[in-house]
């Protein structure tokens, strides 16, 4: 844990300093994407790496967060510091709803049903024109006043720092989670459900709790995205977002804190490099997933010892 924590702190320090050295719009844009990918990947990792289930419908909460932020700011003029928490909270509410139904199931059932929920949400987004404007989406989501008044580079840099802050908070929450009694309960559930129950851990409750936390984090990311891109359409529920999340966590190494960070950076860079070749890129992603599953199941950061829990001297 020490190694991971130091690596993350170092990365954070680098992240703070970087914009001052690279005064470039495009690079700042990449930076924003990385920050918000870190949030998504970390939230996905909480469930995959620590509870051990595969919520293939995780994009649902990202989309909810995005639409919440868009609707609140467009229809009610709510400012960003209201919409972003709202996005998180609504994500959490949906997490509670969806989780309490789906967490009664395990394995493939859980996977498919969470995916079904995400699909239903996408269908609603496409069809409930009165609310979501259907496939045309909600455009013109306002940026915060103090950002709006800057030039493009300033805008992107500001978003970058907000993203950095949010990513840092996300990682901190994940760190606290993993090193707590609650986090240990989640890990215990993943490792051996029967024994976990015998020492007083209620699997459903802790699974649901982790699920809600991950949903809240995803919701935050979605709301942030809405304000950055200024446009929210049904594509936020697309499976390609999910595919990216999967790759980030797998490549980086699930069950570690630094894995998703590393994976997020790598994947965003790859996606940008191959941006014009969507099918080729995704094709390669698919192969990478297959390769990792077979040859490197613990991801690139797998050598990092999975959370060494606190030990007294």
């Amino acid at each position: 844990m020490r190694l991971q924590r130091n690596l993350i702190l170092a990365a954070f320090a680098l992240g703070v300093v970087l914009p001052l050295l690279l005064r470039d719009e495009y690079l700042m844009h990449i930076g924003v994407l990385i920050m918000f990918s870190i949030m998504l990947a970390t939230s996905f990792n909480l469930i995959v790496g620590y509870v051990g289930e595969f919520p293939l419908g995780q994009t649902a909460f990202f989309g909810i967060g995005a639409y919440t932020a868009a609707l609140l700011s467009l229809k009610f003029g709510a400012p960003a510091y209201v919409t972003i928490p709202a996005g998180g909270i609504l994500g959490g509410v949906f997490g509670l709803l969806i989780g309490s139904i789906t967490l009664r199931l395990r394995g493939p059932f859980f996977v498919i049903v969470t995916l079904c929920f995400a699909e239903v949400l996408q269908l609603i987004a496409n069809n409930w024109i009165a609310l979501t404007n259907g496939p045309m989406g909600l455009s013109g989501v306002p940026k915060p006043q103090w950002i709006e008044s800057q030039d493009v580079l300033g805008q992107k840099t500001s978003f970058y720092y907000i993203g950095l802050l949010m990513a840092a908070v996300t990682l901190h929450l994940a760190y606290r989670f993993v090193n707590s009694n609650v986090g240990r309960a989640a890990i215990a559930m993943r490792e051996n459900r029967l024994v976990a129950q015998s020492v007083g851990i209620w699997p459903f409750y802790f699974g649901l709790l982790t699920f809600i936390i991950a949903a809240i984090l995803c919701g935050f990311a979605g709301a942030f995205y809405a304000h950055y891109i200024s446009f929210v359409g049904p594509e936020v529920f697309d499976f390609s977002v999910m595919a990216s999340m999967i790759i980030m966590v797998l490549v980086g190494g699930k069950g570690t804190l630094i894995g998703p960070v590393f994976g997020a950076i790598l994947v965003v860079l790859l996606e940008e490099y191959l941006r014009d070749f969507k099918e080729l890129r995704l094709s390669i992603f698919g192969l990478v997933v297959v390769a990792i599953v077979i040859f490197l199941p613990r991801g690139l950061m797998g050598f990092v010892r999975r959370q060494k829990l606190y030990k007294p001297k």
């Binding site: 606290r176 989670f177 890990i187 029967l194 129950q197 020492v199 007083g200």
Partner: protein, 253 residues
Amino acid sequence: MMLDVVAISKNFDGVAAVSDVSFAVQSGEIVALIGPNGAGKTTCFNIVTGYIKPSAGRVFLDGTEVTGRPPHVMARLGVVRTFQKTSIFKNLSVFENVLVGHHLQGTTSIWRTFLPGKTERESERQLGESAHAIVELVGLGHRMDTDAASLSCGELRLLEVAIALGAKPRLLLLDEPAAGLNTQEAVQLAGVLRRLLGTNIQALLMVEHNMSMVMSVSHRIVVMNCGKKLAEGPPEQIRAHPQVIEAYLGKAA
């Protein structure tokens, strides 16, 4: 009367795994549940600890009915069990395994999880110390940081007991704790078990095949065969009981 099992039965698709079995465990006792394979002993365990619901019958703890309560609730009431096939957290270290066992002593409040204060840190420190102490108590101190997957069979058994101890049980149920142990390890385990009575553990109930350990450690023995209770009594009585001998060795030709 700590644990009172009254007329429990369990059918699986028409097969009666357990039929009308009753027994009790008093405070201060070590009771052994013995019988040939398939006698229904582990099923009884599963019913008492809430992993299965009985088809009939009831279970009482300190006079209150607890039939069918789920395992994590039973654990909160002080009833903790180990399992027949080695059940530990194999990717965690010995210390971490026992620390997880302490779950009920730690906080589950969201607030304190994400915004820990001094009390929280103190509580975590105490859990760590307790886990440390328990690992030493069962004799695994030299393997404190080893991954559970690398332990020997005997050490795994000790770890299982240690995890259960972390939950600070009042009634400890052990499912074949001596399975796979050699004589020396079994003696060591018997010593650990005897020392446990008198800590906050008030009674032990164990399923066991190792007869010498059963005879040396138990106050009372309950014998099962084919899902029914065959006999009950102190070790000397059971040793000489004709039906028990027959169940294990078969009828004389």
